[in-house]
């Protein structure tokens, strides 16, 4: 499956207006989205790359070459994405430390505390290759794979499959759908504190404590369209034309453009 994209940067003050414009354009209300995004990196055991090539001249030569090529093949970072709800985040400290609540004789049990259940968190694997180089059309095109994963503790299967957990962040934004195009106006939130252990969090801090990655509060507008068969040039062309159509329609509001290829590099070194 391939994904074609255009991006635009949206300053914070334009956000509200753009939301209205997009709602009018797509004839739908924005769908608010909160996502946990875990970054996993493919790991390789050290010392396996320098095998003695050419030493074996037996029948298995071809096979050896193929295996060697595979051993030195590319490895990637990949994301594991889980949808969240606002109620999944912890409560504000101000309300949690409400003196009245402590006075009223209730135990210290936070009965209305965070309801986030890590065991029931659904996940999806979202793999994105580095964007294709040298495409003449002015869109970012890249190979992608999206697959659902089991609920709950995701690091066990991911570790077994050869991935190690790197870090995580939260994405907040709104989604619009215009025919085949998904428009995602979003920004990245970081966790306020470093995790204690090197694995996905089991509890979430209050949403208001999350720290903006981009301090000015600006948003990214991402318009994407997926194509089942990336080899079908006709379809790829249709898809980019749809994106160009959107770019034209939004011309007076934002400038949608191709992203820098290397900034979307997902290869693991």
């Amino acid at each position: 499956m391939h994904e074609l994209l255009l991006f635009a940067s949206v300053p914070a003050h334009q956000h509200h207006e753009l939301l209205q414009q997009l709602a009018g354009l797509t004839a739908m209300q924005p769908r608010h989205r909160l996502e946990r995004r875990l970054i996993f990196k493919a790991y390789r055991k050290p010392g396996l790359i320098n095998t003695r090539v050419g030493a074996s001249q037996d029948l298995q030569g071809n096979e050896m070459q193929r295996l060697n090529k595979m051993l030195n093949g590319g490895m990637f970072y990949t994301q594991v994405v889980g949808p969240l709800d606002e109620s999944d985040f912890g409560l504000n400290r101000s309300s949690a430390g409400d003196p009245d609540a402590a006075m009223s004789g209730t135990e210290e049990l936070p009965t209305n505390g965070p309801t986030y259940s890590y065991e029931n968190q659904p996940w999806k694997l979202e793999f994105r290759d580095i964007p294709e180089a040298g495409t003449r059309s002015a869109v970012t095109a890249r190979l992608m794979a999206s697959s659902s994963l089991p609920k709950g503790d995701i690091s066990t299967p991911m570790t077994a499959w050869g991935y190690s957990f790197v870090s995580e962040y939260v994405v907040e934004g709104d989604i619009f759908v215009l025919d085949d195009i998904v428009i995602f106006l979003h920004r990245v939130l970081n966790y306020p504190t470093e995790p204690q252990s090197h694995e996905p969090r089991r509890e979430l801090p209050p949403l208001s404590d999350m720290v903006l990655l981009e301090r000015s509060g600006s948003y990214v507008l991402q318009a994407s369209i997926t194509v089942q068969d990336g080899g079908n040039q006709e379809m790829m062309k249709t898809a980019s034309q749809h994106l160009f159509g959107l770019r034209e329609q939004l011309k007076s509001a934002v400038r949608l453009e191709q992203a820098d290829r290397l900034s979307l590099d997902t290869r693991a070194k």
Binding site: L71, G73, A145, S147, L149, A160, G162, S164, E199
Partner: protein
């Protein structure tokens, strides 16, 4: 989910398979007449970690135990496919996977009662922790497989794909038997042998537990059906274990009646029954109603035991 056993009779590439013999024995060697009730199919893909595929001479770093990643789809588990992954060796692992996790479900805690009972001849995972069983909707399993083929070449290498394109299902008394020829489709097309799955469909504690804890059942007008006589407290974990052994004996007896030689057996494979015990424990805690029933897959645990057995069988020495 019920108790099953899988037998495999390998054959030479150009010889005929044991399928005809088994079919004939089914009709002659048993008291009950087999009733053909339908067809079945499966597909299995085996991946192995790339370093271990190198010949021993080529690399001094060749790991001692190869690791496997297996994909299985069964026509009678239409909601999901199975993924079975060997855990990394504890020695090379930085300790992430082995951190004890409080979640009981997907992390297969080795059930202590079971390990002593299987003396399987070829257990490549011995010494490591139990493999991870994952079930996913079928489209997702195939997406994942192509993802591994594309993006994980340095550590996963596709070794072969085998399939049972058209098997036959028979009901024989309290047993259901699925037989079919196993054909390898990749890398080269050839016949690998015949596989027989024997399922015990008589009354059992396992089926009771499954029926009482399955999300579909609990959503259906309460649990006040006739089997409300049994409560979770009546069943001990050990009972489940004992039942698996008893059923294994029944299945072996059935197989022996057919009198087919040279078969490999997979019944009490490592990890079998993990989900049933997990369900029993949850049931005892009163957590029957699984929150948020997945509309894609009504029961993600269905068929994991028989999948484990097939995985064990299809881990051909490659």
């Amino acid at each position: 989910m019920s108790t099953t056993g899988v037998f495999f009779i390998p054959s030479n590439p150009n010889a005929s398979t044991a399928l005809a013999t088994i079919t004939e024995r089914l009709h002659t060697a048993l008291a009950d007449n087999p009733i053909p009730i339908g067809r079945w199919a499966l597909e299995h893909k085996l991946m192995r970690d790339t370093p271990s595929c190198l010949p021993a001479s080529a690399s001094q770093h060749r790991p001692q135990h190869p690791r496997y990643l297996q994909f299985l789809s069964l026509s009678y588990s239409p909601h999901h496919g199975f993924i079975y992954t060997s855990q990394p060796d504890a020695t090379t692992q930085t300790g992430k996977a082995n951190t004890p996790t409080p979640t009981p479900t997907p992390h297969p805690q080795p059930t202590p009662q079971q390990n002593p009972h299987h003396h399987h001849p070829a257990d490549p995972t011995k010494g490591a922790t139990l493999p991870v069983m994952t079930t996913l909707p079928l489209p997702s399993t195939s997406t994942l497989f192509s993802h591994f083929v594309y993006a994980c070449q340095p550590f996963w290498c596709h070794r072969h794909t085998v399939a049972v394109p058209g098997g036959t299902v028979y009901d024989v008394g309290d047993f259901r038997v699925r037989i079919g020829d196993v054909r390898q489709t990749q890398p080269t097309a050839r016949v690998r042998g015949t596989v027989v799955e024997i399922e015990w469909r008589g009354p059992s504690i396992v089926s009771t537990i499954v029926a009482r804890t399955s999300p579909t059942a609990s959503s259906r007008e309460g649990n006040d059906a006739g089997d409300g006589l049994v409560t979770a407290e009546d069943i001990q974990d050990g009972d489940v274990e004992a039942e698996y052994r008893a059923c294994a004996a029944l299945i072996r007896e059935f197989w022996a009646k057919l009198g087919v030689e040279g078969a490999r057996e997979a019944i009490l494979v490592p990890g079998v029954g993990t989900e049933v015990v997990g369900r029993l424990q949850r049931w005892r805690k009163g957590l029957v109603a699984v929150s948020g029933v997945n509309e894609e897959d009504p029961d993600p645990d269905a068929g994991v035991d028989v999948a484990r057995q097939f995985m064990e069988i299809f881990r051909f020495n490659r």
